[in-house]
């Protein structure tokens, strides 16, 4: 398994997707503090206070998740699109082992992206806070909680990406399915059912609930929303495993 994971990580490193997506996320992470610094006098900017560090983790979380989801999707569908799945399968004939290795590799990619994002985003915010004479408090104001949430969210996105990529095989179909689900299905279902509260039980809604600063009574608390996301991920992964086992190349 260690060799298979190493092979998957090598594959990810030797294509552009991971570098482009990671660069986009890191650029976004430093953009906020930079904009505050260069903002003209009188511009509407958030207050420079210690809570900014937590916001530095919360704000780019959805983009980081989307970027890692895209990396995992592209990495998985490229295997089928470019035929590399054949050489992979000849080296490791058990499809479940290959899938497990890809999941572990993408979780590692998610972890690395999270650490890099946290370092860059918090580093930039810390510089801004220090320059304005505000205390930097990395263990206060929910910073550790949002660091954990960021990590969980990004890793779940990585696993979702592998699952959807394995099921769809085709890059356009996989990306299209994710976009249609996120922007059409999740928008239409609460309207059609006339039950807007359903939205928080769907994947994108659950992500928002996980990241929510405060949860109004009656809504999903972050831990429950995270458990729900884990459930969606597990269901898709189970479907991917079954499909991969019966699929012929």
């Amino acid at each position: 398994m260690k060799s298979l994971v190493a092979a998957e990580l090598l594959k990810v490193r030797t294509t552009r997707a991971v570098w482009v997506a990671a660069a986009a996320v890191l650029a976004y992470a430093v953009l906020g503090p930079v904009l505050v610094v260069v903002a003209p006098a009188g511009a509407s900017i958030p207050p420079i206070e210690p809570e900014l560090l937590a916001e530095a983790l919360r704000s780019p979380a959805r983009l980081a998740g989307a970027a890692v989801l895209l990396i995992a999707l592209l990495s998985t569908t490229a295997e089928f699109g470019h035929g590399t799945v054949l050489t992979t399968r000849l080296a490791a004939p058990r499809s479940t082992h290959v899938l497990a290795a890809k999941l572990i590799a993408m979780a590692i990619v998610g972890f690395v992206v999270t650490v890099a994002l946290a370092a860059v985003s918090m580093g930039a915010s810390a510089v801004l806070l220090t320059s304005r004479g505000v205390a930097v408090q990395p263990f206060e104001h929910d910073v550790p909680r949002y660091a954990a949430i960021l990590l969980v969210l990004v890793v779940l996105h990585a696993l979702l990406g592998v699952a959807v990529g394995t099921l769809a095989r085709n890059t356009a179909a996989a990306v299209g399915a994710v976009l249609v689900w996120a922007f059409v299905v999740e928008g239409v279902v609460p309207v059609l059912t006339r039950r807007p509260e359903i939205g928080e039980w769907l994947p994108s809604g659950a992500i928002l609930q996980v990241l929510a600063e405060r949860t109004p009574p009656g809504q999903l608390v972050p831990a429950a929303a995270a458990a729900l996301l884990l459930g969606y991920t597990t269901a898709l992964l189970a479907a991917a495993v079954v499909t991969d086992r019966v699929r012929e190349l």
Binding site: A7, H82, L90, P93, L249
Partner: protein
């Protein structure tokens, strides 16, 4: 050296029988040619051997085991089923390193096989920049990575220039001389005739004959493999090995 046995191998796709009750054994130390028209079932047979497709009936075993149960498959069987199995943005060296890593093969072996197939100078070029012949050589390099006991090659001469075809012939002969099993499908019968010791002919998924080349040419009193092949497949009936060809009609 590995003994490969096809026993009653049958593969059906809905109403179409691609391979029909194939039974033969590949002998170590010999180059066996696998001959048949387009759609005769050659590629399906090879994919079944490599565990890429599941037989509807029958078995294919390598030293008594299906490919999927080999503990170290690339060291037992080196296979080339398609030259288009490389990510276009990955360099030749990285493409092979990914395969080698999955199979626990050390990186220096990657450089060895690149040299062996004449691609050492193109090791750092992207696979997407390769000509058909170069991709064919790269796919052969992937097959040679594990220094395998058996080589299984599907149409390996496609796209090779005359020098490449000459080199391939020498490679196959030298592998067999070392006691390895070599199984090679091709529709370039004149080229194949210069390389092989034994020939397996199939038509419509059924075994027509499996004999040493010298015996087959002697029985048929034909001057070339092409003439023998045309005579054999014209009737489409399976022959009993050793039965003189002229008596079958």
């Amino acid at each position: 050296m590995a003994l490969i046995q096809f026993t009653g191998l049958t593969k059906r796709y809905r109403d179409v029988t691609a391979v029909d009750d194939l039974t033969f054994t590949l002998a170590p130390g010999r180059v066996t040619g696998f001959v048949g028209a387009n759609g005769a079932g050659k590629t399906t047979t090879i994919r079944a051997l490599l565990g890429l497709t599941r037989p509807s009936a029958g078995t294919v075993t390598i030293d008594g085991l299906p490919y999927a149960q080999l503990s170290d498959p690339l060291r037992v069987v080196g296979a080339m089923v398609d030259p288009n199995v490389f990510h276009p943005r990955r360099t030749a060296r990285n493409a092979l390193r990914a395969i080698a890593r999955a199979a626990d093969i050390p990186d220096p072996r990657v450089d060895d096989v690149l040299t062996q197939v004449g691609l050492a100078g193109a090791a750092h070029r992207r696979a997407g920049e390769f000509s058909m012949g170069m991709r064919q050589r790269l796919a052969l390099a992937a097959a040679l990575l594990g220094d395998p006991e058996t080589l299984v090659l599907d149409e390996p001469a496609n796209g090779l220039d005359p020098e490449g075809v000459h080199w391939l012939r020498g490679l196959l002969r030298s592998m067999a001389a070392e006691g390895r099993t070599v199984f090679v499908s091709s529709h370039l019968l004149a080229e194949l005739a210069q390389t092989i010791d034994d020939v397996v002919v199939i038509a419509h998924g059924r075994l027509i004959t499996h004999q040493p080349m010298a015996d087959l040419l002697g029985q048929a009193r034909e001057s070339s493999l092409e003439d023998v092949y045309l005579a054999l497949t014209a009737s489409g009936e399976p022959s009993i090995p050793g039965t003189p060809l002229k008596e079958r009609s």
